[in-house]
């Protein structure tokens, strides 16, 4: 029926209107066929196109015209040629065209709708024209500006790309942490939002290094704006709180953001001001400003899962960030924070030390309190002009940390009290300046740290060493450690054809002094033990280094060769015994070669080889005993540790995106030669002594890793399976006997993620590890650890979230399985208009009260239990003020 209708329509069309076909070819003056020319047919004297054709590769065209008109106007045009018009009779015919070149240009594009005001690289959005009554903070308005997007976590994108700087009145107070301002600055106080396109924050590089990134600047209406945010939460068993109040102030030349936070819910508050970016972490490492604890109480081994289940805390944090503009392009920033935290640890540990001759058991029932008082501050001066980039950071940190521990050791009560203060003053300087046609980078770091630590243990330990076996009322360790460090270097980059060369030259100096003594107090009278228990050391490491990084890239090959040469000078001076003084000079070469090659579309191979040298630091270089904790005493009657490692790593990866299968594998072998052998002596009461013995020895490790993952689209499920095998072999002294130790471990990982629907997703993860240790011919019990984690997330509507997390841990050694279950429940409701969140969080619903774990190593195995946070319920809310 339908077919019939179509045919009749077609017949009708043919009869009444008919069709004429005009065809032909289009050439240019040189008689070349032109492809892509347009042939349009219209009624004579009209613009409206009735039919058209595009010439094909041979320049041919064919156009069908309905036959209602008597004559037709036919226009042929092509870019670069003059348009030709012919008027022809409306009959089927062949018609060739020869186009003549023309230099006439195309018409200009005339934009009729003016965009949002744009001046040079700056785009201005007037906030008032985008804002409505519902909008409270500037983030609400930003979401609506064309080209600007605000992600759920607050990240701002301009044309799909994260903005690089968030300025308020041209000032960068918060660096990356702009959420704090963006979510709290009332829209009413903002007059304009500006997008600075192609913004290069380092002005010196502005003309040299093109930046495609945009920055955002907030222009305020008033000179002074005061605002803030608050989060309040409370719960029970025992009484719990979680408070965060963050007020702030912005003005044209001064900006201030402060915050007060406190909780007792197991949230580690120090994470709030932790260094997060990798760049800064590397800086910290290089600075040599890491806090080093020489003494301490014996802490409980923390459970391997989330600290929210076990961290028993009472924490307060105050932080302030202040910026002032001294003059154009010159800023001064002050960041300061103070943390006060009390953490408690309760649990018990049973340790069995295996020695080739004996088995020693100790039981400890532990009750620890850790007190943190830390002040961290920095003063940042930056000058950022067209001719110079200079940033100087002055840091001052001070810790007044202390610890108190009560331990019941095999029914003997031992009290430990430690004071671990630490002071750090450091300065970091970075300068980029033009030098000829290059830009040279200069970096300089100077740091000074000091720590005067004290450990008091009563009753006294190690009577055999200090008191000829007679009982001691107490024992006291004092350590004073000072550290001066400087590192200075200059670098630039040079490119020669396919090679890139990055030379770097520098010099560093680390000077440390260590002063320590062990004493006992009787009626406030200090008795210092023999010279064996004292240190008065100076240790200096000087390094002159130069390195050349050469990179080569061609097609599927990538090569990088790093060739650092270092002259290292070590000088150890012992004021107590001149014979212990040691000088060591080494010229070392540490080449590193990396080769990568794409074998084909699926396979990639990589090879990496390097030699590295390590030398012992001061913490392995003191002759006098130091009591690190009540049951561990240490001294190093040895020269400087020298370690040379050769590492080889081979990797293959397979990726097939069409079948969604990905496999990664690599094998690493490391061979380390060192001049000292590690040793350990365990006494009958469980106390131990570590030390090194002069004997050349070799450590070998092999590690093999494989991971595969595949997506099953019908099930909307991704499955990942992985495995890791690890073997190491080394020699150790235990109670004076040299023994060969082999450690094997196998790890299996599995993960399943499924997003069944938009409102439901399920994750299941499993990690299982099996390990055992062989000590000479004696094989210890195999340890199996299993961890199963399941998450169920439900989004019943846009405002609501329900989460269920179930975790199961199993630890098995000698057929004595230890098991733990945890279940958490979260419900969140968001009031969209007022932007208030209410969250109910129930943690540890099964009320698991303690975590038991078993660990082993070459010469001991430890069973420990850790008292966990009880079941808790927390109701919290978040709002702006």
């Amino acid at each position: 029926m339908r077919v019939l209708f179509c045919i009749s329509c077609w017949l009708f069309a043919c009869c009444c209107f008919g069709q004429t076909t005009i065809s032909g070819q289009i050439f240019n003056e040189k008689n070349e066929q032109l492809q892509g020319a347009t042939v349009v047919v219209s009624a004579v004297g009209e613009d409206v196109i009735r039919a058209y054709a595009i010439s094909n590769e041979t320049g041919a065209y064919e156009v069908n015209v309905s036959a209602t008109l008597d004559s037709l106007q036919i226009n042929v045009s092509f870019i670069g040629y003059a348009k030709q018009t012919k008027i022809i009779a409306n009959t089927s015919q062949k018609l060739n065209f020869t186009l003549v070149t023309s230099t006439e240009d195309l018409k200009e594009v005339v934009i009729e709708n003016a965009p949002i005001t744009k001046k040079g690289d700056t785009i201005n959005y007037a906030v008032n024209s985008f804002k409505n009554q519902k909008d409270r903070v500037i983030a609400d308005v930003l979401k609506k500006l064309p080209g600007i997007e605000v992600l759920n976590d607050g990240k701002i994108l301009y044309q799909g790309k994260p903005i690089q700087k968030y300025y308020i009145e041209g000032l960068d107070l918060l660096e990356g942490k702009y959420n704090l301002a963006n979510n709290n600055l009332p829209a009413n106080s903002v007059s304009k939002v500006q997008i600075l396109e192609n913004h290069q924050p380092i002005q010196l590089l502005d003309s040299l290094v093109f930046s495609d990134r945009a920055s955002l600047n907030i222009k305020l209406k008033k000179d002074i704006t005061v605002t803030g945010v608050a989060r309040l939460g409370s719960g029970f068993s025992p009484f719990l709180w979680n408070v965060n109040v963050t007020p702030m102030l912005f003005s044209k030349n001064k900006q201030l953001i402060t915050s007060y936070q406190t909780n007792a819910t197991g949230k580690n508050i120090s994470n709030e001001i932790k260094t997060l970016t990798l760049e800064d972490l590397l800086d910290e490492f290089e600075n040599n400003t890491e806090k080093r604890d020489w003494v301490g109480i014996v802490e409980l081994f923390p459970p391997s899962f989330s600290e929210k289940y076990w961290l028993d805390n009472n924490a307060h944090l105050v932080t302030a960030n202040y910026l002032t503009r001294i003059e154009k392009d010159v800023n001064l920033k002050v960041n300061a924070s103070y943390i006060n935290d009390v953490q408690r640890q309760i649990g018990n540990t049973q340790t069995t030390f295996f020695t080739p001759t004996d088995t020693i058991n100790i039981t400890e029932i532990t009750n620890n309190s850790l007190f943190t008082n830390a002040l961290k501050s920095s003063l940042i001066f930056s000058k950022n002009t067209k001719k110079k980039y200079l940033k100087n950071t002055l840091t001052f940190d001070n810790y007044w940390n202390s610890q108190r521990g009560n331990v019941l050791l095999n029914n003997e009560q031992i009290l430990q009290e430690a004071e671990i203060p630490f002071t750090n003053l450091s300065n970091k300087f970075k300068l980029l300046t033009p030098f000829g046609e290059k830009i040279i980078t200069l970096q300089s770091i100077v740091t000074y740290t000091k720590s005067r630590q004290n450990l008091h243990v009563s009753p006294g330990q190690f009577e055999d060493i200090f008191n000829a076996g007679n009982a001691l009322d107490n024992i006291n360790q004092r350590v004073t450690h000072e550290n001066i460090y400087t590192n200075n270097r200059v670098s630039f980059t040079k490119k020669i054809k396919r090679f890139t060369l990055i030379p770097k030259v520098g010099f560093s100096l680390l000077h440390q002094t260590l002063d320590s003594r062990i004493a006992t107090f009787e009626n406030n009278q200090e008795t210092v033990f023999s010279e064996d228990s004292q240190n008065d050391l100076q240790f200096t490491q000087t390094s002159f280094y130069t390195t050349l990084l050469s990179q080569y890239e061609k097609e599927t090959w990538k090569l990088a060769l790093e060739t650092p040469v270092k002259l290292l000078l070590f000088d150890r001076n012992d004021a107590l015994e001149a014979s212990r003084t040691q000088d060591l000079n080494r010229l070392i070469f540490e080449p590193k070669l990396t080769v990568k090659k794409d074998l084909n579309a699926f396979w990639k191979a990589s090879l990496s080889m390097n030699i590295s040298n390590d030398f012992g630091d001061l913490d392995q270089l003191y002759y006098g005993f130091i009591l690190n904790n009540y049951r561990n005493i240490q001294r190093y009657n040895n020269p400087i540790l020298e370690k040379v490692s050769g590492n080889t790593s081979i990797g293959f990866s397979y990726r097939n995106p069409v079948s969604s299968l990905f496999i990664n594998s690599y094998y690493t072998y490391a061979n380390t030669q060192q001049n000292l052998l590690f040793g350990n002596t365990v006494n009958a009461d469980g106390t131990s002594k570590f030390g090194f013995f002069e004997q050349d020895n070799t450590i070998q490790t092999h590690s093999f890793n494989i991971k595969a993952s595949k997506y099953f689209s019908k099930l909307k499920t991704n499955i990942t399976l992985g495995s890791n095998f690890y073997i190491d072999q080394k020699d150790q002294f235990l109670n004076g006997i040299l023994a060969n130790t082999t450690t094997n471990s196998i790890l299996f990982q599995g993960k399943l993620v499924t997003n069944l629907t938009d409102w439901l997703n399920i994750t299941y993860e499993n990690n299982t590890s099996i390990s055992n240790t062989k000590f000479e011919n004696q094989r210890f019990d195999t340890i199996t650890n299993q961890e199963h984690i399941g998450n169920l997330n439900i989004f019943p509507s846009e405002h609501q979230f329900i989460g269920l997390d179930l975790t199961y841990y199993k630890n098995n050694i000698s057929n004595q399985p230890q098991e733990n279950y945890f279940l958490d429940f979260t419900y969140r409701y968001t009031f969209k208009k007022s932007k208030i969140d209410i969250e109910l969080n129930c943690r540890n619903l099964f009320n698991s009260d303690q975590f038991r774990t078993i660990l082993n190593n070459a010469f001991s195995y430890t069973q420990s239990s850790y008292i966990l946070r009880p079941r808790q319920v927390l109701l919290s809310t978040k709002f702006n003020f």
């Binding site: 492809q35 670069g80 934009i111 495609d212």
Partner: protein, 267 residues
């Protein structure tokens, strides 16, 4: 299993003969206003798109993508720039990684795109986008335009083309009209391309990176892989060696959920 081809050599090199002395190379800039979340009119975004044509062949791609590729190329040639503070995070980003190469005289055009880190291509017939021209006319941005309509991949489009620019091309996969498409929009105005700028350039850019393998598939397979990626993005990102915390995973999911409005809705 799909038949695969690995293309290490750029097979879409613009032939030298195409560039006759008198054939200028034009760069047309289109502004694309699109709505990434179909349920939220405030999710409208803007991106500039480029159409390079030598009047025989053309390349259509996003301006940011083109600039990013140019910078990466520049960095390869001149790594001093990298040492002076350029890093990958500074590169311009685009939502549209596709590149469309059209040969006006041929029946097929070629579509290139990237799914996460992998490059794909497929060929599609010009005939999949059949045009109906109407008699309606209008002047847009200074050009006399005539209206044409089509339906493609689940959307109905209205195009305004102008014979005043006698190039049979347009944004995205749209071409074949007797004149350049000055403006094209789907019925819901979720994707609107409008010509904003015209310029001439010295040479056709090479837009296909020939150093990476390109998987040749069919359009149906490509769409299937793209959907798989969207369903499984978090895991795919993890596979490439990044560790994502739960918070970030939730963000990625939320982000992808809001990007629910691709230009092609159906096969």
């Amino acid at each position: 299993m799909q038949k695969l081809f690995f293309i290490f050599l750029c097979f879409v090199s613009f032939s030298a003969t195409a560039q006759k002395d008198n054939a200028k190379i034009y760069k047309f800039t289109y502004q694309l206003v699109y709505q990434s979340d179909s349920t939220d009119v405030y999710s409208k975004q803007v991106e500039d798109m480029l159409l390079f044509t030598n009047s025989k062949e053309s390349a259509f791609l996003s301006k940011n993508g083109f600039e990013r590729d140019s910078i990466i190329q520049e960095l390869k040639n001149n790594p001093e720039l990298a040492a002076n503070g350029i890093n990958a995070s500074m590169f311009p980003k685009t939502r549209f990684n596709y590149k469309i190469i059209k040969h006006y005289g041929k029946d097929d055009f070629v579509y290139y795109d990237k799914i996460f880190k992998d490059y794909f291509m497929y060929k599609e017939s010009k005939k999949s986008i059949p045009w109906k021209i109407t008699t309606e006319t209008k002047t847009i941005n200074g050009f006399k335009c005539q209206k044409a309509t089509t339906s493609y991949a689940g959307r109905d489009y209205t195009a305004w083309f102008s014979n005043e620019i006698p190039i049979t091309d347009g944004p995205y996969k749209f071409y074949g009209l007797p004149g350049l498409i000055v403006k094209i929009s789907d019925a819901k105005e979720h994707y609107v391309f409008e010509l904003k700028k015209k310029a001439t350039v010295a040479k056709m850019p090479s837009v296909v990176d020939n150093s990476k393998p390109i998987y040749e598939v069919t359009r149906a397979t490509f769409r299937e892989k793209m959907n798989e990626y969207k369903e499984n993005a978090v895991e795919r990102i993890s596979q490439s060696g990044f560790t994502l915390n739960d918070e970030y995973k939730a963000q990625v999911r939320a982000k992808l959920k809001k990007r629910n409005n691709p230009i092609e809705l159906s096969n």
